[in-house]
């Protein structure tokens, strides 16, 4: 059913209530649910210093946690909404100050694809992330929010403040592009 590391599903409501009361252990539990999602989202979306931005996101979450209500999925999508907002801010400010070092480039320079795997057409998470990062920002937003934020298309549309048709269309084009990349990478000679 749900693809989820074991242990993440443990009694969310209880953990949430306790975390709101300031229980460190409960907060740690909530944090584990979202930490990887936020990082994954920021990395995929090409944020230059994901670690700092993730820190801002988590700080926002801590600050606003008392106001949050909902289940685990709501929590994830709420957090990713915050992550998206922070990502937009970060991109804006990095356009203004382009002198930052770029960890993302370091990531890109590595070749994560094992030669044998590549020959077999196998792709790991590194490559999957790279493929997502090659989409246009709007397309990547849609897919990343769906994947990491567990949002439905209507939810993505609301978060991005776009019409549902536009978002569906973006998803569609994103998948089309993914397919092209996959095929191009797989068989560079038979195009």
């Amino acid at each position: 059913m749900r693809v989820m590391a074991r242990g993440l599903e443990v009694d969310f409501p209880k953990a949430l209530a306790a975390a709101k009361r300031g229980d460190e252990e409960a907060w740690r539990h909530l944090f584990q649910i979202i930490a990887g999602r936020v990082v994954g989202f920021l990395v995929v979306r090409g944020v230059r210093d994901p670690e700092n931005v993730a820190g801002e996101v988590f700080a926002d979450v801590v600050r606003s946690l008392k106001r949050f209500q909902g289940d685990r999925r709501d929590f994830v999508s709420w957090t990713l909404t915050i992550a998206h907002r922070r990502m937009v801010d970060a991109v804006r400010s990095s356009v203004r100050r382009p002198e930052d070092p770029t960890p993302a480039d370091q990531l890109d320079r590595r070749d994560p694809v094992d030669v044998e795997d590549a020959a077999l057409g196998l792709v790991g998470a590194d490559r999957a992330r790279h493929l997502l990062a090659r989409l246009t920002p709007e397309q990547a937003d849609v897919l990343a929010l769906r994947i990491y934020g567990e949002m439905t298309l209507p939810e993505v549309a609301r978060r991005l403040d776009k019409p549902l048709t536009a978002v569906t269309s973006l998803q569609h084009r994103a998948l089309e592009a993914l397919r092209r990349h996959l095929e191009g990478d797989r068989a560079p000679n038979s195009g």
């Binding site: 990887g36 999602r37 989202f41 990395v43 988590f58 094992d114 590194d126 769906r146 797989r186």
Partner: protein, 255 residues
Amino acid sequence: MSPDTVTEFIQILREEADGADFRTLSAPAIPSAAPGAMARWRTRLATAAAAGVASVAALGGLAYAADGSAPGAVLYGIDRAFEAIGIGNGGEHERLEEAVALAEHGDPALGLEHAAGVTGDPEAHAALIQAAERLMLREQNQVGEQTQARLQVAELLQYMAQNAGDVDGPTVAGLARSIGGDPVGPPENVPAGPPDEVPVGPPDGVPAGPPDTTPGGSGDGGPGASGDTPAGSNGGQGNGGDPQGSGANPHGGSR
């Protein structure tokens, strides 16, 4: 293999995010009351990110069929893929209404693709995707006259929406095959591969006739949808509706 491609793609990213590499590195230094904690956490995270978040290989790979993957393999099933990992998309009825809305908003191909995510019939599924791809190619190449295709798409989607939950696969497949025939396009847009997914249909040239067969009414109006005029004005090789019922490959791509 088709929806699995997308499912796996999503799963791999999701598992990575929920996996030990992304999560545990943050555990020892959760942002909390202590101001120093955040800084420590940042450092660890930076290290991990710069290292490319190693050991993802353990998650296994995405297997892309090296042969015979039908066109649109990645396209279809996105909604199912999301559902498979626990993201609901609303019911079938809702999705079909979205499909109708998409088509009405000027994107019939997308409407078809969206509808394809709903049907459980493999033949109908493939036919819808292929019809969507034909329409996309035509649009990209600005070939042919779109009005008729739009009407056909609207009709097909209406049929599906009205019969949500009880859609007749062959009927949908037949209607879909009659849409946007006469595919034209550069071969690179069409992945080559044997169209192994589609069972051979009746050899009628399923042309895009005037939409006189109301799908809701004629239950058996399936693949043999009537009409003699080939779709589009330029007859190509006369395979407006793809006589073999394969429909997977516009001729440019096949060998």
